[in-house]
Symmetry: D2
Subunit: 437 residues, 4 copies
């Protein structure tokens, strides 16, 4: 059988021994160790017999490294929206570089890529093991963040001026596309600069990242808020607790929070368009439930039902990161529910909760803390070997190396035909008639 390893771009052969070498108890990952890409039995047997199985490189420390840790300068930048665990990742990178590779020159660029341009007004922070020691107790990012891309050329100029050889970018889709642009540009210019991404997405929508950091913490906060909505719903006659969660294109937070809570009756996500009006539609179903149970809890992901909210012919608007500006499905649903029940002359008490930033600005829970630690460490190991244009992903419970282009080719989304969504359907007991086929 043939084993195909997903290739990762590198700057060249490793010329130095790792400082781990000779240290007692050190173990290393060989470049031939891999994590199987295929998951399903049929796929595995088929591929086995055809071209062979595909493996991702296993992340972790290598015996030989590309950069000389002496006089090496590294940079870190955090981009996009806040996410639990950002400070943990920063701390893990700094400590691994500092304590284990002996790298002392580490710059924290301020406010995302906007602090990383040739003429940025924001001076980077100098980071060391001491000044990052307690940052993981706080939510947010001590570096600050921002949305939006910057010119790759200008960023390279800033990196060169400060002699940064490894840039760690923590951010989402847009950030990683930016990281790729930087990597592409510097390859063209033959510069020995590595760009290693740690994928950040509270929506959990990046491929080859089975669960993104911060996601669990976000689900925990969401579950707590559903409890509030439940209390409000039960507190008033025909009470409806309506909560809007993050999830622009992928409803993972909404789906997991629904299953974790056990108190949700309707879960609406972008991947499964729903029908508002008419027989079997959402409003009629809600009416029937209220008649039976006197209350209902509804969870809606912000990206759900956009086709309902947008007026016919209305053009989409975009934010600085190039994301479509979403229409507010929460406010829309609240209004539509109230209009419907007014029309049918039935009392309804809609309690609408838009927790927004509350969910993403908390400190990481314990599992996310652990996860951010090993993500940061593995990003450093990868960077030190001259790997570039890649991200640290997770697959079958192992951390792996993934080319940025492969991970950003498309979004990970909830598959309406698979177990997660089926379990949501069964647990909420919401009807298939409510959804478009």
């Amino acid at each position: 059988m043939k084993a195909n390893l997903v290739p990762i771009e590198t700057l060249g052969p490793c010329k130095y021994d790792s400082p781990y070498l000779g240290r007692e108890g050190s173990t290393f990952i060989s470049d031939q160790e891999g994590v199987l890409y295929e998951v399903h039995q049929r796929e595995i047997t088929d591929h086995c017999e055809a071209g062979g199985l595909t493996f991702f490189e296993l992340a972790g420390p290598r015996k030989r490294i590309f950069y000389n840790p002496k006089n090496l300068t590294c940079g870190i930048v955090t981009c996009g929206g806040l996410c639990p665990g950002l400070n943990n990742v920063i701390r893990a990178i700094v400590r691994e570089l500092n304590e284990h590779y002996g790298v002392t020159d580490i710059l924290g660029f301020r406010y995302g890529y906007s602090g990383l341009t040739a003429n940025s007004k924001y001076e980077p922070l100098r980071l060391d093991a001491d000044n990052v020691d307690e940052i993981h107790d706080q939510g947010g990012t001590i570096l600050g963040s921002s949305r939006g891309a910057q010119d790759a050329k200008s960023i390279i100029k800033a990196l060169l001026r400060r002699r940064v050889k490894i840039l760690f970018t923590v951010g989402g889709d847009g950030t990683m596309k930016g990281a790729k642009a930087i990597a592409d540009y510097k390859r063209e210019k033959k510069l020995d600069i590595s760009v290693v991404a740690i994928p950040k997405t509270i929506d959990n929508d990046i491929n080859y990242v089975s669960r993104s950091f911060g996601f669990e913490t976000a689900v925990q906060s969401s579950m707590d808020i559903i409890e509030n909505a439940h209390a409000e719903a039960k507190g008033f006659p025909n009470g409806v607790g309506l909560v809007k969660f993050m999830g622009r294109q992928s409803g993972f937070i909404a789906a997991y929070a629904t299953l974790a809570s056990g108190d949700v009756n309707y879960c609406l996500i972008p991947e499964v368009p729903f029908i508002l009006d008419g027989p079997g539609g959402f409003l009629e179903s809600l009416k029937n439930r209220l008649k039976r149970k006197l209350h209902a809890v509804i969870v809606v992901a912000e990206g759900a039902g956009q086709e309902l909210v947008r007026k016919p012919g209305e053009k989409a608007e975009f934010d600085p990161s190039g994301n479509i500006k979403l229409k507010d499905i929460g406010v829309y649903l609240k209004t539509e529910i109230e209009k419907y029940f007014e029309k049918i002359k039935m009392e309804v008490n809609v309690k609408y909760i838009d927790p927004s930033y509350i969910i993403r600005s908390v400190p990481a829970n314990s599992m996310d803390s652990y996860y951010c630690l090993i993500l940061g460490q593995c990003a450093v190991h990868a960077g030190m070997t001259g790997r570039t244009n890649m991200l640290v992903g997770s697959w079958n419970d192992h951390l792996i190396h993934v080319p940025i282009s492969m991970a950003t080719a498309e979004k990970k989304r909830v598959n309406p035909e698979r177990r997660l969504w089926k379990t949501v359907m069964e647990s909420t007991v919401q009807s298939y008639s409510m959804f478009r086929k």
Copy 2:
């Protein structure tokens, strides 16, 4: 010196011994025990020499009671918005009646006064020590609630039909005015029905109630949310974390949460009108702070700045409880800030959080749990003696009896001339120039 006791209405002389009598270890409150009304030294010395000092009746168990506990039926109703501790109060009333007075017939009316009318469609729940045993772990109210008054005559009719002799009403200003209407009507009709109120107001705005139940829990939730806003503010260049809290006419939640947090730079409350535009105004002050510190946290009570939001000549609208419908100061401020900074061409990143129901639907914290317990017990003690048309208040660390009309004569509000507000001014370092004189 003369001691004047604030008189409390009663149905008549107490004809029965309390079941506590003869029970080992029992102690009783004499009707002559009082809690001093006056607080300030000057007042005390002045009154002492003039007409005498004024005292509130101390709440607690009495030796003699008005009702025969055998065959007595009691009712409980919870009205208005949710508040942490409602279930604790219900539990305390039921347990005190049941376990200590031997009253077994206790009705929980559903959905506020709307479950307490002659022809209500909602059947009351039968409550006993068993089925209320674990309700205090949940937020909300197991009885449900609703806004709005009902006809006193219809309520009396419902009470008579179910032979309810003591009605415990847990609710705010409107509820207590309703309770007073019932008490007045049944006095006129010479019915031996007691109405005892437990004042509920998450805004902490009822007089002779130095701290209303649920308030501490609300301040805790609010402080946590300010931490979120702080992380968001620091996370972006010129980041502004803007949080709207409850507080229709009184800014106690905003003020206490500001002081508890220590991270708030601006605190805006209904009692102290602020100036938006012009030199020394809020917007200019915010600009200066952002220039110095790159971020700011703003807390605004929902009732603040209504004179700014309302258009000239615009008529006020009212909700079913008769409260003015407030204009959304949070959204207004967000918009005005963004407009201002766009005009002066300075970047700003406003992160607006409207936690709304999240704060009021959580279970009570430990001090509120304790407080709800003794409130419920004292309400029962008062009711059993035939006291009526009164509420259980708290004054100088003691629970007291207060006539409803005295407590509802006006709202308790933050006094801009006294320590609480002065401390807010000093802690936020916000400028007096921002506020109207």
Copy 3:
């Protein structure tokens, strides 16, 4: 290539259609779907070419089932120590049986196997979707639990008397061995009773269960308590915060909590024996750290260092479940530290925390809630098909079927040669000289 499926015992061919069949949106798992057993690339390629790869059955709903849901009686029993999520598992089983298979006769046996004997004094509870609706908000188990085995024959007698056809056992190693004994006995007697286990172990020490339910919640509580220890350690000169965690034979809680916290300086687990005295030993290392940093945080799993605590020649004692009674390593370490520092005349302030039951009696966090839900559902699906003598495990992010004997053959333990422990060594910066080779 050959695909070998790990065989699962069944009672016979499935004779009935699942009630899911014909229901809109239903999907099913084929009995041929499998999850790959092998993890490492070398293993995979080797096996591929030799006897073929091995797969576990994928858990989930099947089209055809063994039992007729009408008149079917099922039983649930929870055994051993408390663990976060027990009530979630009970709730998930009851709801899946009740709402989706239409099984209405569900018995909850009280206090572990002691409620499941022929002459038990504890009557089982009748469970339905209503009375389990809110149990997941509480820690512990509504059924109660107990340690210790019971005679398989007596249990079978109890099951027969109550006509229980599927028994769901939630418990650890001992429980599952009990479940196996029941299954073996009834196979011998040719009875059509299924025994399906949901593995419960807060120590996370069961094979083919990559993370046991409740484990994450336990790590979260542990991380919070390390924060306390950290504050105490920093609070006094030469302060030592010493915390003992659960972990009889496996140090997973200690290891994960150490990594999640980031504040731990020493992590001692059963798998890696440590040296107390002498040059390079634990005590000397602690002295050096205190001289440099003035404080230290130590985490020790209860099963660590037993060879130090036990006196030479001392015989082991056993508890009712057959587990060795551990000597208290926490108290031992506290005493040894104090003795050592007294001897070298150096001040030390040891603050010892033994959180014991605090960690295991809390409600499940969101991810554990989700996980318990799908575990319970999959256990029901498996039971309905007549599978028996098996447990629901998790492998490579999927739920699977595992024969009980395979999972209980040996304990899962922290491997000192692999990444988890290496990361602990690097993060704590504790020295290899402290540990036995």
Copy 4:
């Protein structure tokens, strides 16, 4: 009527204007404003007619101050066990001195009085508004603490050497007696050094401090742990959840946590000696409860039942602060319960929880945060006026000045004849027969 103000020692007449003077919006407390000492109506009327009423000075900013803020050096020291809110108090003192009085030279002495001796090896920290900005998010004290007194002469020497004029001591009984010794010594030497105490006692046992800071937070943690004990108790046949709380001489934490929780069946405190054996004793009562309910929750304060634990004729031992070393009532009770039930051949499952440091090392909750803020501010106001040998207390919801000797004359304890204990008796339904008369 005569008004008697409790006199507070001062260093001399105030010679300087407060920096608040002339600042917009400033208000001041007059030295004649007082808070009434007497609480009960009878006392008030009696005293009114006899020698007059007694008032405490109201704390707060004064117009005129004793020290020139320019070149003034202040010191802060935290002593004794940890308590939630220590960092908040430090932060409040530093900010008030720094931002409002313009004092920039503030020393934080390390590790209690042991950092405040003439030849201490610990250098004090320099404190300013910046380096205390985020310390309130952490439990413990950034200064460190220690038990035990030091020679007043040596402390004065250290203060003189560093030219400290105002010393803020945050600590308990022992600390305040130390503060008094310093004040007495320096009065004798005619030095213009102020000593202002902020009373710290998690046990809430200081007179004229109606609720000490950190107490509420401790009660909250305690209530959470009672929930754990409750789950454990219900989890096993004849399960007994036994929790030991802090409370050496005063059972306030145990009493309040019992009332807040609502799940406690036995509450044992130092103030009310209990009877273990014999008819009507604790063990018999426990047996009866277990027979009826199958589980029980017991809360015991560490100082309870010492007369039972101590062997006849056994001498008391003392710790460095001069406190009696308590015998472990928790372990004693656990053993006695197990022995008793073994004797009567009844199964019992005692789950003993000793949360110890877990309760006191957490960050302050919101109300304690608020309270620490105003305590710290008022301590600064008092110190600046040259007041000395006093503490900031709280009485009838106001902060006041109290002479140290008055507050330390005796401990505040739970009065078995008053409402708090009566409410505990009623809520737990424990029997009076269990307690000594």
